[in-house]
């Protein structure tokens, strides 16, 4: 009896809810700006019938408000029924992840050039060509990505959307620089890197990459200068073990063994214990569904000692577009849940809120998973670089031993910097470092150290 009453009440409420009889429930929900609920209802209403052009337009409209993040949890067979550029983008992305490259290319090709995901589609298409070993096509995709992202950025009205397209544009440009680096075309690579403005979110990350380019060109002073930029207070959140390794390696190539050893010792004494402690704390929570999500907002008691260090890693993660999109989705779902709880009848609440709760939980799990993956990827890179630094240490000892055996010594015990050792192009100015970092000169530093690799015969006391 109770069930019957509940059913009658639900039918009556739904009828009242969709006042105009012609409107479907998803349309009513959309009209009330309950976009996440409307999207779910839309799929329920349309899945078992033939899809018409209007359905596709409505889906695109709904996805404009919700974003496509939550579509990742949907079955590919369901999404295939809706041939829109958004669903094709998601399906192509899944095909790329599962290494179905041919299918991925077909789907990327069907994304409309005016669609908002076209630039990102081109970025991913370049990934497919990279996997297929087709550098020419890869470069073409990056260039198409850059051009379309720039066009979309100029047309966008919202600052957030502009920022998104700027990011896509910069990633494509940087990938082009990386493409040249891989092909050992270092000058072209530097040219592309130098097009990224210093204000860009990506810029601090690129210092390390540019330092590698200079290293491969044999300009160890410039590589060291770029890495020095990380010591500036403005960039203290950016700590990369690989930057420490590259600095030690560059000093080694200049035969400045003592400088190299100083970096190695500092890494072993200061950073490695810190990473190990952090790793042991985080590994305990590896299987938690929310620990890393909560960590994004407040480090727990256990991490208090490493608070500043963890905060630096988390700050970097929070600056990612992915985090902004996911967190924004959670915020919008919360808003929708609040409005439904405040304005709708209990039967409607009961119908809509559990689904929204699930969507929200999925998003939280996604952020948690991504944060966990990022942190562990970062920490797992440490033992590799630690072992490389150890090898470098052994190599320095071996070189020093050779000098002793051959009764030779390096030309100078400690080479001082000199302007004559600075390599620069006609577009690069030169000022001496006065002990302070200036924001406008960050990233343009070069050391002026002379290579110490020439050896001279050691003069013994007897010979004197």
């Amino acid at each position: 009896m109770k069930l019957l009453l509940l059913m009658i009440s639900l039918i009556l409420s739904l009828n009242a809810f969709s006042e105009e009889k012609k409107k479907t429930l998803s349309e009513v929900l959309e009209g009330k700006k309950y976009y996440y609920s409307a999207l779910n209802e839309f799929f329920k209403e349309t899945y078992s019938r033939t899809i018409i052009k209007d359905d596709l337009k409505r889906l695109e409209d709904l996805l404009y408000f919700t974003g496509i993040e939550l579509l990742e949890d949907y079955e590919p067979s369901l999404l295939q029924k809706y041939p829109t550029s958004s669903t094709r983008f998601i399906l192509a992305r899944q095909a790329l992840q599962t290494k179905k490259y041919k299918k991925a290319l077909e789907l990327f090709d069907k994304i409309h050039p005016d669609h908002r995901y076209y630039p990102e589609g081109k970025l991913l298409e370049a990934q497919v060509y990279d996997q297929q070993g087709n550098p020419k096509k890869r470069l073409e995709s990056y260039e198409a990505c850059q051009a379309s992202a720039e066009k979309n950025e100029n047309a966008a009205l919202s600052e957030k959307i502009k920022r998104y397209y700027r990011m896509v544009h910069e990633i494509c440009l940087v990938n082009k620089a990386r493409h040249f680096f891989k092909a050992e075309e270092y000058k072209e690579s530097l040219e592309a890197y130098n097009k990224i403005p210093k204000k860009s979110y990506k810029w601090p990350y690129l210092l390390l990459e540019k330092a590698w380019v200079y290293y491969q060109m044999g300009d160890y002073n410039r590589a060291l200068g770029l890495l020095t930029t990380y010591k500036s207070p403005l960039l203290d959140t950016y700590f990369f073990p690989e930057a420490e390794y590259l600095a030690a390696l560059s000093y080694f190539r200049l035969c400045l063994y003592e400088d190299s050893l100083t970096i190695i010792n500092q890494f072993y004494k200061v950073y490695r214990p810190r990473f190990q402690a952090l790793d042991s704390v985080l590994r305990k929570n590896k299987n938690s569904q929310s620990y890393f999500y909560n960590l994004m907002f407040k480090p727990g008691e256990e991490l208090k000692k490493h608070e500043e260090f963890v905060r630096h890693i988390l700050t970097r993660m929070k600056k990612q577009t992915r985090f902004s999109l996911d967190f924004n989705a959670i915020f919008k779902i919360n808003q929708e849940m609040k409005r439904i709880a405040q304005n709708e009848k209990p039967v409607i609440k009961q119908m809509l809120l559990p689904h929204l709760g699930e969507v929200k939980e999925n998003m939280i799990n996604k952020i948690n998973y991504n944060a966990k993956t990022d942190i562990f990827q970062f920490l797992e890179g440490v033992p590799f670089l630690s072992s490389e630094l150890f090898k470098l240490n052994l190599e320095i000892i071996s070189r020093k031993k050779d000098l002793v055996y051959s009764n030779k010594k390096l030309i100078a015990d400690r080479s001082r910097g000199d302007y004559s050792n600075v390599k620069r192009t006609k577009f690069e100015y030169f000022w001496t470092f006065q002990g302070a970092f200036w924001a406008d000169e960050l990233g343009d530093y070069s050391l002026g150290l002379k290579s110490n690799c020439q050896t001279v015969r050691q003069v013994t006391e007897e010979g004197e």
Binding site: I68, L124, M167, R178, T321, K391, L392, L394, E395, D402
Partner: protein, 82 residues
């Protein structure tokens, strides 16, 4: 002919008889050498020209990591978007 057969027979018998005899070898138990009195005939050459031909010491250089591509960085960047 008969004589020849007898001679051969006697020879073979005497050979077989000889196998049974034990041969005892004896070595000197003690012998003294006076090295001071030993004289070597010939020309004496002082070993002043001993030399070892120098060869370069083989160096084993460790294979230090040097980045050749940023493939991992590209993947990470793409993942950072969504």
């Amino acid at each position: 002919m008969r004589i020849l057969i007898y001679v051969l027979g006697i020879y073979m018998m005497s050979d077989a008889w000889g196998d049974d005899q034990q041969v005892i070898y004896q070595y000197k138990k003690y012998e003294k050498f006076d090295l001071g009195n030993l004289e070597v005939k010939g020309q004496l050459i002082a070993p002043g020209d001993i030399s070892v031909r120098e060869r370069e010491r083989r160096r084993f250089e460790l294979d230090l990591f040097s980045r050749k591509n940023f493939d991992g960085f590209i993947k990470k960047d793409v993942e950072s978007l969504r």
